[in-house]
């Protein structure tokens, strides 16, 4: 028996492993993920990526699987953190919290602006916060190299005012000096010194200039996102490689082309016509014809947009003196310029004017005026406005350039710590670009230079009793699962208590009356209830008893954990539905088994011995006849689980079935895994119980 149990146990573990791998793989190969479901279809790819990082979904699938299985703390988090991790229960909420441990105190961190704040948990449970910038790590070699490059750039810079350049050079040298002396200074002093330098530098920046830099960047982006330029890019790519376009892109292409047509229609009717033709061919999926049509528009279009593309380039690289020259050189004479070019240029100037409107009203006005004058054919006016814009760039360029350089004159830092959402996090201050991320705790989008850039969600792993947190709710899967399991268990056990005696006794009656009308009636009834789909049965019951007769509620609303017992009428229909699913099946099994047993010689012997009928049937017949139904009931748990999923979703019952359904819909992997493990255990356990019950009923069977 022991050997048998051990073998069963090993097979259970193997099955669980296999199922868990399969579930991970299925959810991995499928398109879309929990992030898509959580953010909805209007989220940008960057937003999705950010949330994906926070959920740890960007890590390779085997890492995520092992994290789920054996936990992330020992193998992934602690080596990076270089401190042991502790899991404690919060005294206020009772939730599980992860802390790093240092010299016996528990510690976590958070970012405030560019400052690192340490949160220490004192032995008495209270929490103490303090500035903890000394922990920042600096990659000295890389930063020295990077700042060296900035210094070289400064030396060759022609845009900055001379005095600005000298001053900035002095600061760079200063920073480099601190970095070079990293071996002599204590780490804390080093970081402190660097911060002093940076604060000093920040004072040099006109706060307006920072927003202006951003506005110019977005102006450059506006130019790039112009339908004409987009069309041009598409046309160029499509003329090279048709196959690179999938159905989705082809679906949106006519829309982009339509916008381009709208822009050029006024000035270049023949170009608009060509674009329309291409659009028609794409709609008809004549890709070869579309390619030829697009090839014809490539050259005239690139002539049209080229000047502005160059402006966008120089804006992006920050060479504002070049920008000024380019703006002055913008074609604005009607005689060398046809109507189409004017329209396109005016359109792009409009876009740029809008982008800088709030932070650079002066420039915005000039661009607006230039666009308007161009449209009205007033060349003089347009020329003046563009000259003014160029002059603005000459004037403002050095200030912007200073702001831009200062932004890069910081020392990048990083730190692996533990955050307040139970992740091990790599915090980075990076000054190359600002960064958006969506904080899970507040749900808001935050923009800052210091940011968490890598997450390792902390969990202990299934083998150590932690099935992880739901991706969807961020709550521990275990707690939810236990609650749902309890609800389902209530439902299932009530159904079980009703089904077994009822179906066995009905089966007995049918079996004893084999071939008589009552047997035929019960058999057909059993067949029909078994065969009819459970959701259909449930719907018939709801329609009859709650819609038409209004006797019973058609949905289950559990307000608290005890409301099942205070409002038992809510459970009637779910239980009846579940009962009907199982009833017929067990009934037919018992009947067949009973008929079989009644024909056995020992039954005849019992009759001939003159034993009382009752005793024969119950003692000799039923005991033998029950063997088959019991195995069947046990093996039928999987089928019952399917029934429970349907019944729960039909009546809105908050049980395991609805939990699994929602988790599957959201692709909430950890939740699905947890549910799947429960299911597999249930299936194997019931099989085991069936086998053991079998040995009791039939002493001839021995396991071992």
């Amino acid at each position: 028996m022991a050997k048998f149990l051990v073998r069963r146990f090993i097979s259970l573990i193997l099955t669980m492993l296999l199922v868990s791998v399969l579930v991970f793989l299925v959810s991995e190969v499928a398109p879309g993920d929990v992030v898509r479901h959580m953010l909805g279809q209007f989220a940008t790819p960057e937003q999705e990526e950010s949330l994906r990082e926070q959920l740890g979904l960007n890590r390779p699938v085997w890492v995520r699987y092992l994290t789920w299985l054996i936990g992330s703390d020992t193998f992934w988090a602690e080596p990076r953190l270089m401190m042991p991790l502790r899991q404690v229960e919060s005294q206020e909420t009772g939730a599980i919290e992860w802390w790093a441990e240092e010299d016996g105190t528990l510690i976590r961190w958070r970012l405030e602006g560019d400052d690192l704040i340490a949160i220490r948990r004192l032995p008495n449970g209270s929490v103490e916060e303090s500035m903890d910038n000394g922990r920042w790590n600096i990659d000295f070699e890389e930063e020295i190299a990077r700042l060296g490059n900035v210094r070289d750039e400064l030396l060759g810079d022609s845009l900055l005012h001379l005095e600005d350049r000298e001053m900035l050079l002095a600061r760079v040298e200063g920073l480099l000096g601190i970095l070079h002396s990293s071996n002599d200074l204590s780490h804390e002093n080093l970081v402190h010194g660097i911060q002093q330098y940076e604060e000093d530098l920040n004072r040099l920046v006109d706060p307006q200039a920072v927003s202006q830099l951003e506005a110019l960047e977005s102006a450059a982006r506006t130019v790039r996102q112009d339908p004409l330029i987009e069309t041009l890019e598409i046309a160029q790519r499509l003329s090279e490689d048709l196959e690179s376009y999938d159905e989705n892109t082809l679906h949106t292409l006519p829309h982009v082309l339509g916008q381009a047509v709208f822009v050029v229609e006024d000035g270049r009717p023949e170009l608009a016509e060509a674009l329309r033709g291409a659009s028609r061919q794409i709609l008809a999926r004549n890709l070869e014809a579309a390619r030829l049509a697009l090839q014809r528009v490539v050259d005239p279009m690139s002539d049209l947009v080229q000047p502005m593309v160059e402006v966008a380039n120089s804006l992006e690289t920050g060479e504002y003196d070049v920008t000024a020259t380019q703006i002055e050189a913008l074609p604005r004479q009607e005689d060398i310029l046809d109507r189409g070019a004017v329209v396109v240029l005016a359109h792009q100037l409009d876009g740029m004017a809008e982008a800088v409107e709030s932070s650079m009203p002066e420039l915005s006005q000039e661009w607006d005026a230039a666009a308007e004058n161009l449209r009205e054919g007033d060349q003089e006016g347009a020329a003046t406005a563009l000259d003014n814009a160029a002059a603005y760039f000459r004037r403002q360029g050095p200030i912007l350039a200073r702001a831009e350089i200062v932004q890069r004159l910081h020392v990048a830092r990083y730190f692996w710590g533990v955050d307040q959402q139970n992740n091990t996090v790599l915090w980075e201050t990076s000054f190359d670009d600002t960064f958006w991320f969506r904080s899970i705790s507040s749900g808001h989008w935050i923009q800052q230079t210091s940011r968490p850039s890598e997450y390792i969600p902390l969990q202990r792993g299934l083998l150590r009793g932690d099935p992880g947190r739901s991706m969807r709710t961020r709550q521990p899967v275990g707690e939810e699962l236990v609650r749902r399991l309890r609800n389902s268990a209530i439902l299932a056990s009530i159904a079980f208590v009703v089904v077994v005696p009822l179906s066995v006794s009905l089966g007995l009656v049918a079996g004893l009356n084999e071939g008589k009308p009552i047997d035929r009636m019960l058999s057909v009834f059993g067949l029909i209830t078994t065969a009819s789909p459970n959701f259909a049965t449930g719907i018939f019951l709801i329609v009859i008893f709650s819609v038409w007769l209004k006797w019973l509620p058609g949905a289950t609303v559990l307000e608290s954990s005890t409301s099942v017992f205070t409002n038992p009428e809510m459970l009637v229909l779910p239980v009846v539905t579940l009962t009907l699913i199982e009833l017929g099946y067990v009934l037919r099994m018992t009947r067949a088994s009973m008929v079989d047993v009644m024909r056995k010689p020992y039954m005849r012997t019992a009759f001939l011995k003159g034993l009382p009928y009752r005793r024969i049937v119950l003692r000799h017949g039923l005991r033998n006849a029950l063997m088959a139904p019991i195995t069947v009931i046990m093996l039928h748990v999987n089928w019952l689980v399917g029934g429970i999923v349907v019944v729960e979703s039909l009546f809105g019952y908050p049980g395991l079935g609805t939990f699994l359904l929602i988790s599957a819909l959201y692709k909430d992997v950890f939740a699905i895994e947890a549910g799947a493990m429960v299911m597999v255990t249930l299936a194997v356990a019931t099989q085991l119980i069936a086998d053991i019950a079998y040995t009791f009923l039939n002493p001839r069977i021995r396991y071992g």
Partner: protein, 297 residues
């Protein structure tokens, strides 16, 4: 749906030599059982409905704004009523039948193809191959089928191809197991040994000798499988994982109409009756057939 019983080999072997004779004997078996007769009639009814859907002018997408969520009203031309968008329920039920009656047999066919290959290979070669295949199938079987469907369809999205795939995956283990046990039995028969010693390739022995001789139980099992597949397609639709709108998929019709069950229960009742009658019909048919062929032995 039900535990697959290991039928004795030849359960469906009906005597007679000519094709006509065998067909007559087969029909005789069906008529002899009252349940099988009722089942066949129900299934035939739905096959007729499918044929009707090919010729009818009823439009499952046309909206009648003058009667929305209406009960049965022959006067307005809606024999079974309309749904929440004013679409004729009769038209939708009729057109929905085609979807179900094509997808279900197709997916069972796929499951039988995959399952019999796996079962034959496992049963014929035995040993490590057998262990490997059966462990894998056991893992799949330990998993509630409906949950398997849910995960696959939720992951891949509902389309006819994905539904067929999901049902194939869900149905394969059962069929493979059945065929494996049949193979192990048939493998020891003399004619298999004869074929082997005549130098036939394992492939021919498996598919040409063993599979052919195991066809009886497979047919009964496939019949039950079709019933289960229809149920599964309906259940998926009911759980909100059915064919995307505006498809007249019965399960999706139920899921949608459930929201309006208080104002118009008919919209839920008709597709439910449709699925129930078709599934019950197939089960009665398979059951009756099973019973009769046992009696003949």
């Amino acid at each position: 749906m039900r535990e697959k019983q290991d039928l004795p080999i030849g359960a469906l072997e009906i005597s007679g030599t000519s094709f006509g004779g065998r067909l007559r004997a087969f029909l005789g078996t069906i008529w002899a059982s009252r349940t099988a007769t009722v089942g066949v009639l129900l299934v035939l009814f739905w096959i007729l409905v499918v044929l009707f859907s090919l010729v009818t002018t009823l439009d499952p997408y046309e909206q009648d704004v003058t009667s929305v969520n209406a009960g049965p009203s022959p006067a307005q031309g809606h024999w079974l009523g309309t749904d929440d968008l004013g679409r004729d329920l009769l038209a939708r039920v009729v057109h929905g039948s085609r979807l179900v009656l094509v997808l279900a047999p197709l997916s069972v066919l796929c499951a039988v193809a995959v399952g019999s290959t796996l079962g034959l290979v496992a049963g014929y070669y035995g040993g490590v191959v057998d262990d490997l295949v059966m462990r894998l199938l056991d893992a799949l079987m330990a998993f509630p089928t409906i949950l398997l469907y849910m995960i696959i369809i939720a992951a891949l999205g509902a389309s006819p191809a994905n539904v067929v795939m999901a049902i194939t995956i869900g149905g394969t283990p059962g069929i493979a197991r059945l065929i494996r046990s049949l193979t192990i039995d048939i493998k020891s028969r003399d004619y298999v040994a004869a074929a082997e010693s005549a130098g036939e390739s394992p492939l021919f022995v498996m598919f040409g000798e063993i599979l052919i001789n195991a066809r009886g139980p497979i047919i009964v099992d496939a019949m039950l499988g079709v019933g289960y597949a229809i149920f599964a397609i309906g259940a998926l639709g009911f759980l909100g994982l059915g064919m995307p709108p505006p498809s007249p998929d019965w399960g999706s019709m139920i899921a949608r109409a459930r929201l309006h069950i208080w104002s118009n229960p008919w919209a839920v009742v008709w597709p439910s009756i449709a699925i129930a009658s078709l599934v019950v019909g197939l089960n009665l048919f398979a059951d009756g057939l099973n019973e009769e062929s046992f009696r003949y032995q």
